[in-house]
Symmetry: C2
Subunit: 313 residues, 2 copies
């Protein structure tokens, strides 16, 4: 029972929902995870699904909730229109949109967009992780933030402002080639075992940095190498991973130049691969676990929106 | 009935088999197409499948056959080991491997390989198209040959010699992103309708040539553009096509430099897209239909192997 929670924090994405009752210091008292992602919830059922989870946690009706994620997209519960760059990291919190027609006070954090025609881009949920980062790091959060994943985000941050960002199709390219290309056998089940300091990963990164134009050939190259030089599947997967991560970093350098230490939001294996690749690219990095950033960002936003519900820090 | 055919030409690939009885001038008398590709034929059944098709064409046992394609790979009927670059365009014909234990004289053309560890690559069936090109063009075949497709080949040719080549994962990348990525909806069913001179295709090509490092971002960019600027699926598909073809050409320029007019083996739509993209890249091109190159190459090879079966030219 969480009838004394200060606020409920909710990260409601496409495939999952996570819910944390927060105490008056902003600390999570519990975490409820569910597969009731946006994709499986009909437009008119968001309120009912939300209520059901809050009931299961024993949260009374008068406790407000702060949400982030695709639930605020056009296809979600209610659209929370993007804040445009450049903006303050706290702007999405200040621009949180109140859900209509609910007894409970529920707000959705907007994402952030670059609305230019040339560099149009969007993020939704990463702005909350950035808010969590700013909460942890304050003004030390400066330079480039790298958030690897299916759609990796590279964010240019300075003095608590988001100056610009872009998304790259890195993780999803690895997955798509593993699902539907001649690389299928090599990439099948790979990923978790790649050695971040192994020769093939390092070579993939280096070639992407040295000659980014030839990436389509380099992606194919593991196939003839397996035929002619007995390249095994593990080494092929490591090379492809290095090629894609190296290309991702080459793109960030081309777009933003060298902006000092990269703050790398990641944990576990992917974080280790990007740390190694950034080092090869001559960029120092500091790694921050992404696991708790969403709840930290939601807590930070809740404190800005409902200061009276929290202890003074 | 083709009981007076000089030779049987066979292109036996992964998914299809094509068979042409040739007359004494090397001209195809007929064309038999079948879905009995290598993939569906068990290792010990090649001879039976071959006989069955030859019977259907009414070809007697004493007429020899020349084959190309994956039937000569390690997983095929009998391996025809790759000829290494640099080599003469006619070397695969001279190195054709005779199938063991068949009454009929059947030869398989080997593919061509670059066996270096750095630029390892293989082709199998394109060497026969090159032979067909050489047959048609003679010494006018010089510079770069571009053979677009699932795995596009770029071949450096000079004075009837294959100096080097590489493969790029261009067509297959377009297909894989259409099958298994956030671009699925945009690319679904696209391809045939892309305007080779349309703004979005041209823009995709230009950006890949100008800044090849940022390709992972540019592949993603159509998604936010559809959200923020109502980019429609047709324009998104055109941009992705231009991006991939532009990146392919940027890779060829990085690898081989500018080698004069590009001989583009293609027909129909993909040929038009590459012609436009090569022009944007400042490369002139001459387009040659690929449809009849395989049979022309097989006829050329058969004439080298069994000169007595053909009329003197």
């Amino acid at each position: 029972m969480h009838n004394r929670a200060a606020v409920i924090a909710v990260d409601w994405g496409t495939s999952h929902l996570r819910m944390w009752p927060l105490d008056r210091s902003g600390k999570a008292l519990d975490c409820r995870k569910s597969a009731d992602g946006m994709r499986t919830v009909a437009k008119n059922d968001f309120a009912a699904v939300m209520d059901q989870h809050l009931k299961a946690l024993g949260v009374p009706d008068d406790i407000p909730a702060i949400m982030c994620g695709m639930v605020g997209s056009r296809q979600g519960w209610q659209e929370a229109p993007y804040v445009s760059v450049p903006c303050n990291i706290g702007d999405p919190a200040l621009g949180a949109v109140k859900i209509k027609n609910t007894a409970r006070d529920i707000r959705i954090l907007p994402g952030i967009a670059n609305r230019s025609t040339e560099n149009a881009d969007v993020m939704r949920s990463e702005e909350t992780q950035l808010l969590g980062l700013a909460d942890q790091m304050g003004n030390a959060l400066s330079g480039l933030v790298c958030m690897p994943g299916t759609h990796a985000k590279w964010v240019r941050v300075e003095e608590q402002r988001v100056l610009d960002f872009f998304t790259s199709l890195s993780g999803e390219l690895f997955a798509a080639l593993g699902a539907a290309s001649v690389l299928k056998h090599a990439l099948d089940g790979a990923g978790g075992d790649i050695n971040a300091d192994g020769n093939m990963f390092v070579e993939g990164v280096k070639q992407s940095l040295d000659e980014p134009a030839t990436v389509l050939n380099r992606l194919f190259s593991v196939r003839p190498k397996s035929l002619l030089h007995d390249l095994n599947n593990d080494d092929a997967a490591a090379f492809i991973s290095g090629t894609i991560i190296g290309q991702d970093i080459a793109g960030a350098k081309a777009r933003f130049g060298d902006t000092g230490t990269v703050t790398l939001v990641g944990s576990g294996h992917l974080g280790a691969l990007y740390t190694s690749a950034l080092k090869i690219a001559g960029l120092s990095s500091q790694i921050v676990s992404g696991d708790e950033l969403a709840v930290a960002g939601l807590a930070h936003a809740a404190r800005l929106i409902w200061p009276e519900r929290f202890n003074t820090i």
